[in-house]
């Protein structure tokens, strides 16, 4: 096990390379560009492909093509680019194309403050594209986790034949910390159909992704973003084909929630105060938790690592004892909708919303919100 001092962006790139990523297409954008720079430096040396696309639409679509051609493929971007990639992401979902897309969040909307951290793309990561769909969204809180979760993202993408979003932010991306690099990383390799008759777009058990026939090996695979049957033939007319397909695609993620849902709980089981958070804010939240408990408050912290799919049961259970729930977010309130949905009806939910200027939410602000009035 090697230790390195890496920024979150570097850690993402290292994680990708460790996971066997051999294709990167991207378009520069602050604060994600260093991921691209790293891949630009490493991939040509290691026999992989790197291309700077003409825009983000091209980048995501190149990644899709590369994935079908057998590559472990990734792109990285930030808000404006992520918005442009939504249509492509929907296509990847519909065609069950494994890929990893990293969104390093900055303060939006529009161009906003390009160099300042934020967490305003959470809901977009879940819902940004049209139509019925669901994809895993993972949120690291440190460079170490950026590394680990990027690897994880590739493993999920390959196993479930799905795009996976890694939702980082500028603090993580540009902050450098000590990262433990793994020596050996095992990513499940893609299952090919046993023979050309095995359906590449259907599965009796929705939790299991169908096998993926690579291009150029005589499978004569038909890939389409239109509604298609188990063998890929377009069917834009029948209710049954459409419903079966989109239901299976959503269930593939939803019914695997136990496998996909990662979270961290710290503090007291019978906490009166709970802090619910994700991403870099969790760092302040952990200190806030310690501060609260040292003042004798029974408190806990629920940190969501997986932001989607949501494990309603877990969240409900973990929040059951809490009378006060603090939800610190570097946005104007997004995770809080889940908390409102899953918390006890009579709990007091306090939002701590702060975004812009590269100023984090400090532990003291969380403590104050937990103890005092709401903001």
């Amino acid at each position: 096990m090697v230790r390195a001092l890496l920024s979150g962006n570097e850690a993402v790139a290292e994680g990708a390379l460790a996971a066997g990523c051999n294709f990167f297409a991207g378009y520069p954008i602050t604060p994600s560009s260093e991921i691209m720079h790293y891949m630009a430096r490493e991939l040509p040396k290691r026999g992989g492909s790197f291309i700077q696309a003409e825009d983000e639409l091209a980048a995501i679509n190149m990644v899709i093509g590369a994935s079908w051609a057998g590559a472990r493929a990734m792109t990285a971007t930030s808000g404006p680019g992520f918005s442009l990639m939504q249509e492509g992401l929907g296509y990847a979902i519909m065609t069950e194309t494994p890929l990893v897309i990293v969104n390093v969040m900055r303060a939006g909307p529009a161009t906003g403050q390009a160099t300042k951290a934020a967490q305003g793309d959470l809901m977009q990561a879940r819902w940004g594209r049209h139509g019925d769909q669901m994809i895993p969204v993972l949120a690291p809180s440190s460079p170490q986790e950026a590394y680990d979760l990027t690897i994880e993202a590739f493993a999920i993408a390959e196993e479930l034949r799905t795009p996976v979003v890694v939702l980082s932010d500028e603090f993580i991306a540009h902050g450098r910390e000590v990262v433990e690099l793994r020596e050996k990383v095992e990513i499940p390799s893609r299952r090919k159909p046993r023979d050309p008759s095995e359906p590449p777009f259907g599965s009796p058990d929705p939790r299991i992704a169908p096998p993926m026939p690579p291009l150029g090996e005589g499978y004569y695979v038909i890939v389409t973003g239109s509604t298609h049957n188990e063998y890929g033939y377009r069917d834009v007319h029948s209710f049954e084909t459409h419903f079966r397909l989109v239901k299976r695609l959503v269930d593939k993620i939803r019914l695997n929630v136990d496998k996909l849902f990662r979270y961290e709980v710290l503090g007291d089981d019978d906490a009166e105060v709970a802090i619910v958070c994700f991403g870099s804010v969790s760092r302040s939240a952990k200190q806030a938790l310690r501060m609260l408990r040292s003042r004798g408050v029974r408190a806990k912290l629920l940190r969501l690592v997986t932001l989607w799919p949501m494990n309603d049961e877990v969240v409900r259970r973990e929040l059951r004892s809490a009378k006060t729930i603090v939800v610190p977010e570097m946005n104007l309130g997004q995770l809080i909708y889940d908390v409102q949905r899953l918390a006890r009806e009579d709990s007091r939910i306090v939002a701590v919303n702060k975004v812009g200027g590269g100023i984090p939410i400090y532990p003291s602000e969380i403590v104050e919100a937990a103890l005092g009035g709401s903001r």
Binding site: Q113, F171, G175, E177, Q287, R290, P363
Partner: protein, 177 residues
């Protein structure tokens, strides 16, 4: 957990200083977290760069005050005044006009002008810290050797080590884990 911050304006190598400190402490076997705040679109604006370090993983790098802060230009100060006021020790370049109860002034920029290492105020400041013994000067040298402008930097480092002798104890007191 301790922390070292550099404040200044764009072009002063503030982020570079943070990097060197972080890498040095890392090579000394500590866990570190290095953060910075600057605007890509604002050339010459205010810059903050800081390093949090500890024997274990750094729990929270988002801190509201520093163990030690070195201010090389006023531009970097205003936004972070509260942080500075709460800090254990602040070293100001003597050209920075500010009244802070916890501050000492050092003629960092003057030394640079006089000794012909203009623009290396950042490395002189690193030397000042290293004088406390918290940073191992030989490790700092090794780190600098991997970066551009090595020779001039070593000169500046030496000047800093000298300049820092007077405040070494106070620096050590706030930085020692």
């Amino acid at each position: 957990m301790r922390s070292i911050a550099f404040l200044g304006r764009g072009g002063q190598g503030i982020v570079f200083a943070g990097e060197v400190i972080a890498e040095t402490l890392f090579e000394q076997g500590l866990y570190v977290a290095q953060l910075q705040s600057y605007g890509a679109e604002v050339r010459g604006g205010s810059v903050l760069s800081y390093v949090v370090f500890d024997r274990d993983r750094v729990e929270n790098p988002f801190i509201e005050s520093f163990s030690l802060a070195i201010v090389l230009h006023e531009a970097g100060m205003r936004r972070w005044m509260k942080h500075l006021e709460g800090s254990d020790l602040v070293i100001l370049d003597e050209l920075v006009s500010a009244e802070l109860r916890n501050a000492v002034k050092l003629p960092i920029s003057r030394v640079c002008v006089e000794k012909g290492v203009l623009g290396r105020e950042n490395v002189v400041a690193i030397g000042v810290i290293a004088a406390s013994g918290v940073l191992d000067p030989s490790v700092v040298e090794r780190v600098l050797s991997r970066k551009r402008g090595f020779e001039k930097n070593i000169e500046a480092l030496k000047l800093g080590l000298e300049l820092g002798r007077d405040v070494a104890d106070r620096v050590a007191a706030v930085l020692r884990l």
